[in-house]
């Protein structure tokens, strides 16, 4: 408990007190605080436990790269794990909990891992959990997950909304520090549409955190002036709390706006977060630079922080990291840190400068040169530092600076690699072309004056420059320092994954010299912070260990996203029924009245069976079949794809699409059609009717409706562009119902207007435009999928329920029943009609027993490829019927067909059962199967082997038509 709130200063609103809780304990903070700054102000430096060793950890940064201070934020469905306390804006009532500790943050049993740490070296996971293989799933993985998990996700649904939005601009400026402000100002004043996005809660970037002088005033006042001007320009959009997370093709940037994360619960009309796709003519990367830690023993002790973080906590949040601070660095920024702390009344014990000399102003703070911090002692809080020369200095906080890494991530998202600058000791962004340029510190401009000028130049539009204000520059000299090898304790490179400096030479010795391999072997850079702090140190240590240059070692790949993104932001509003809308047929209400059980088929809700009291699905479907075959049944078939085709060349077009011919179809007639893919395999089937010389109506299977439409569009536009034809999907516009059974005609007759129905007026395969119920337009087709004398009636969708109810009334005297998809399927299997199980993307027309449909007189899609030898091999699997020898046996779909005396194995496979049904007409299980050379094998006794369920029964191969082979009922 050594950190504390400064008595004055900072950008916090001391009048606004906010109450919050951390690990169940209540604290107060102020508006303007982050969770991390408020905890520090309350003397809390211990905020989490590390991943592998469970070491005590506090915040090391004051920003987005934070690896340590990760908390579970909020509770219940709103709980969010691995949230960076340094980025969480404090609000009244905030609830957070530390992670990765048990039973408590102060006393963590897992910390024993630290004592056994010699076994946790690089490649630990690979070396320890190698064998036996069977242990992985059941023992090792759960063990690792329990011991080394980060935060836990809520299992409750997220109650909040998320949105997606597009934005377009002439210039996107990423980052609102001095560089970004100048870039936005230059383009904004030129009248360009500008978006200025910054991940921070307030705009101003480093000018909110640092004491600077610009244009004769403080950097902060200058920034506020520029922001006021930008806010007054109608062509400029300011987007605080917006992290640009990725750079994509077409200069599209992904960005997440945290709309409501800074309040307890979102306004009911606001989303929690909004995912933006920003399409920018040009973009400027003004993301600044990230300070690097130095690897020395105990550099993870709570109270050890980046120097810039310690300045930020003091300058912006009026929170001091300790009462007696040691500043350690390899560059001049150590000195400004000492000056800032001193100005806030914080005692700085000493500046330890690894270099022999520096011209920077220490403001009277003693400086020890040419020495380094080797170890920090203290465990849960800093107590002292040991220097490389043996000096021991008591202190309660350490500010460290190992130099600066330009934040080049976004510039590398398309695969280009950054390049090493040996003078700046930094990777600079690759050349990304004119549409996206890095500026300021992100481009290696380390002086404030350079940043202002670079921002102005890169933001300028049409050569219209703006004047650059004068400013005071900080010294920026640096000498390399990555790892203090004299350290005794653990010197961390990757804090979040607990990878230490020693792990890297070890990985190199074991052969993992490639940086991508070393990354995975040591897990350096693989945590949620993706190595933002430590990667450059890791590369430098690897370079030294292997005698290579920084460029030769190179960086690992920078991938989107810059910081972790909640799934909710990507899902946006597309959850639940907004992700998968419910598609109801026009007859849905009628079916519901009849007690239908609906099943989801794709998006459709289809009436599946209509149970009466006490019936299960099989009893209901069997009753529906018997009632239909003995009287009349009514089935909703509206989900079939319906496509209206018109034009002079409509027939010719259909001739191209189907393997059989439609140009010769008589007006007023329907025909079954089979479509092939260009490779000769069957793609879809359905009936098509000709209503007029130049007018057809096609139907497709329910599943392929959208696909067939897209294929038609391709065929017409790309293959046969000169055909005079037009077509549109009318699936939604027509309700369609099958009326099947010996009493179907008598039933329909009662609602059809002015037509005496007979085999002459409505012959088999007739397709007529009629009217029903005194003037409702309708289409009447004499089609049968059930094998019964049957019709399909189509009416405009809005008349669907009315027509179905009228049919139920008309058929009451014949005992009409509604039947569902289950009964429909039973009847088609009884009749041997092929459906989805047989039209499965591997079968030819010949396999389905429909080879004769393929025309030899015209060109059509699939004609040539269907003639290939392999597709006409008599040994191909083709459709047959299958029935059990013992009628009490059950045949299962998916079971394999074997010769009667063969051993059950896939080597002896002859085919498989593609569809099965309980036939109430035959009182047995029947099926369709695809069997090698099946048509020649009717009557053969085979084994039906279901290895999955462990059953094996004898079956007989038969004609696919199990019932009414003479089709007497069809024409009855």
């Amino acid at each position: 408990m050594t950190s504390f709130r400064l008595s004055k200063g900072g950008l916090i609103d001391r009048a606004a007190q906010l109450s919050f809780s951390f690990d169940g304990k209540r604290f107060t903070g102020h508006k303007g605080d982050t969770l991390a700054s408020a905890l520090l102000a309350n003397g809390v430096t211990l905020m989490g436990r590390s991943f592998k060793y469970h070491r005590p950890r506090g915040p090391i940064t004051a920003g987005a790269a934070e690896p340590n201070a990760l908390v579970e934020l909020r509770e219940g469905g709103r709980k969010e794990a691995n949230t960076r306390a340094t980025m969480v804006e404090l609000y009244d009532g905030l609830v957070a909990a530390s992670q990765n500790r048990w039973p408590s943050l102060d006393f963590d049993v897992g910390a024993v891992n630290s004592l056994a740490s010699s076994i946790f070296v690089a490649g630990f996971y690979y070396k320890t959990f190698m064998w036996p293989k069977s242990f992985w799933e059941k023992i090792y993985e759960p063990l690792i997950r329990r011991a080394a998990g980060l935060g836990t996700a809520s299992k409750l649904p997220d109650p909040d909304k998320y949105e997606k939005a597009y934005a377009h601009c002439d210039l996107l400026v990423i980052g609102s520090g001095p560089t970004g402000l100048m870039a936005a100002l230059a383009a904004g004043r030129a009248g360009k549409r500008v978006i200025l996005a910054d991940e921070g809660s307030a705009l101003g970037g480093s000018l909110l955190n640092e004491r600077e002088e610009i244009g004769g005033t403080s950097g902060l006042d200058w920034a506020m002036g520029v922001l006021a001007e930008l806010a007054s320009l109608p062509n400029v959009t300011l987007m605080p709390r917006t992290t640009v997370i990725g750079w994509f093709d077409g200069n599209i940037f992904g960005a997440v706006e945290r709309v409501s994360d800074h309040v307890a619960a979102p306004d009911p009309h606001e989303p929690r977060q909004r995912y933006w796709k920003i399409i920018a003519k040009r973009a400027v990367l003004a993301a600044g630079a990230e300070e690097r830690p130095v690897a020395f023993g105990g550099n993870d002790t709570p109270g050890v922080m980046l120097a810039s973080a310690m300045r930020t906590y003091a300058n912006r949040y009026a929170a001091a990291a300790g009462k007696s601070v040691v500043v350690f660095g390899n560059n001049d920024h150590a000195y400004r840190t000492a000056r800032d702390l001193k100005a806030h009344g914080v005692h700085v014990e000493v500046i330890i400068d690894s270099r022999k000399e520096s011209g920077a102003d220490a403001a009277g703070v003693p400086v020890l040169r040419g020495r380094m911090v080797a170890d920090v002692t203290g465990g849960r809080a800093v107590k002292a530092v040991h220097l490389t020369d043996g000096t021991h200095i008591a202190c309660d906080a350490v500010a460290m600076s190992g130099g600066f890494s330009p934040i080049v991530n976004l510039a590398c998202h398309k695969g280009a690699k950054p390049r090493w600058d040996a003078n700046l000791l930094a990777f600079l962004p690759p050349d990304t072309g004119a549409a996206f340029t890095a500026a300021g510190a992100a481009a290696g401009k380390m002086l404030l004056s350079e940043c202002l000028a670079d921002g102005a130049a890169k933001g300028a539009a049409d050569g219209r420059a703006i004047s650059v204000p004068t400013c005071r520059d900080e010294a920026h000299a640096i000498a390399p320092l990555w790892w203090v090898k004299e350290s005794q304790g653990k010197a961390f490179i990757d804090y979040q994954n607990d990878a230490t400096a020693k792990d890297l030479p070890l990985a190199a010795r074991e052969g993992y010299k490639d940086i991508e391999l070393a990354k995975r072997y040591t897990t350096t850079g693989m945590a949620t912070d993706q190595g933002k702090l430590g990667n450059v140190n890791a590369i430098a240590i690897m370079a030294e260990a292997t005698g290579r240059s920084m460029d030769e070692v190179g960086t690992t790949t920078f991938r989107p996203f810059y910081t972790p993104v909640a799934f909710g932001a990507f899902a946006g509003p597309f959850t639940g029924h907004h992700f998968q809308p419910v598609r109801k047929t026009p007859l849905h209400d009628w079916a519901a009245e009849q007690g239908a059980v609906f099943v989801e088929t794709g998006l459709w809700m289809r009436s599946s069976w209509f149970p009466r009291k006490g019936e299960d699905w099989l009893a209901a479907a069997s009753r529906e079949v018997l009632a239909t075959r003995s009287g009349v049944g009514l089935c909703d078939v509206s989900t079939l794809g319906k496509i209206d085709v018109q034009g002079r060349d409509a027939g010719q077009f259909l001739d191209k699409l189907y393997c059989n011919t439609f140009s010769t179809l008589a007006v007023g007639k329907a025909r079954y059609g089979l479509m092939l893919r260009e490779d000769g395999i069957v793609s879809d089937d359905g009936t098509t009717s000709r209503l007029a010389e130049d007018h057809y109506v096609m139907t497709t299977t329910t599943a392929n409706a959208a696909k067939v439409m897209a294929q038609m569009e391709f065929a017409h536009q790309a293959l046969f562009p000169d055909l005079d034809v037009t077509y549109v999907s009318v699936t939604e516009q027509w309700a369609q119902m099958a009326v099947a059974g010996p009493k179907s005609r008598a039933t329909l007759q009662k609602i059809v207007d002015g037509l005496a129905m007979s085999d002459e007026t409505v012959p088999y395969m007739a397709a007529l435009e009629v009217s029903i119920l005194g003037g409702i337009p309708a289409r009447l087709f004499r089609l049968s999928f059930s094998g019964e004398h049957a019709y399909e009636l189509a009416v405009p969708a809005d008349y669907g329920n009315m027509a179905a109810r009228a049919l139920m009334q008309a058929g009451a005297e014949f005992g009409i029943v509604p039947y569902g998809v289950e009964a429909l399927s039973i009847m088609r299997i009884e009749k041997g009609h092929v459906a989805g199980g047989e039209l499965n993307g591997t079968t030819t027309a010949g396999d389905l027993g429909l080879g004769k449909m393929m025309s030899t007189k015209k060109d059509y899609i699939g004609r040539m490829m269907a003639q290939r030898e392999g597709l006409n091999d008599p040994n191909r699997q083709c459709v047959v019927g299958i029935r059990p020898v013992d009628v009490t046996d059950r045949i299962r779909s998916g079971a394999h067909i074997l010769r009667k005396d063969d051993k059950p194995s896939m080597a002896n496979d002859q085919g498989y059962v593609s569809s099965v049904a309980w036939s109430p007409m035959l009182n047995m299980w029947i099926g369709l199967a695809l069997v090698a050379n099946g048509r020649a094998r009717h009557g053969e006794i085979v084994q039906v082997w279901d290895g999955l369920r462990g059953t094996q029964v004898l079956g007989e191969i038969c004609d696919p038509m199990h019932f009414d082979k003479e089709n007497k009922r069809l024409h009855a």
Binding site: F248, I252, K277, D679, A710, F714, Q717, L719, Q867
Partner: protein, 94 residues
């Protein structure tokens, strides 16, 4: 990635469905001697690094099939024409 649809203007790639190489031309002959051409048409597709013309369906827009020319290496989009105009232009050349 943004696709300039001749009907709808510049639209995001999410609205499109891609079908691959547009350089292939469907043979017109049904003569068995043309089988080699058919094999090439059905199975052979170029997969070049660099400039590439491919079919794209504006399935979330005007539903026109387009031929989009883009660079497979840089993902730069050079332009798009309707598949109908593309087919007719190719037919005129042949």
């Amino acid at each position: 990635m943004l696709i300039p649809c001749p009907h709808c203007g510049t639209r995001p790639v999410e609205e499109f469905t891609f079908l691959g190489d547009a350089s292939v031309t469907r043979p017109t002959s049904n003569d068995p001697a043309s089988m080699e051409q058919w094999y090439d048409y059905v199975y052979l597709r170029a997969n070049p690094r660099g400039r590439f013309a491919e079919f794209a369906h504006h399935s979330g827009g005007c539903r026109a099939w387009l031929v989009v020319t883009r660079n497979t290496e840089t993902h730069e989009v050079y332009g798009a024409v309707t598949a109908r105009d593309y087919a007719r232009a190719k037919g005129a050349k042949a």
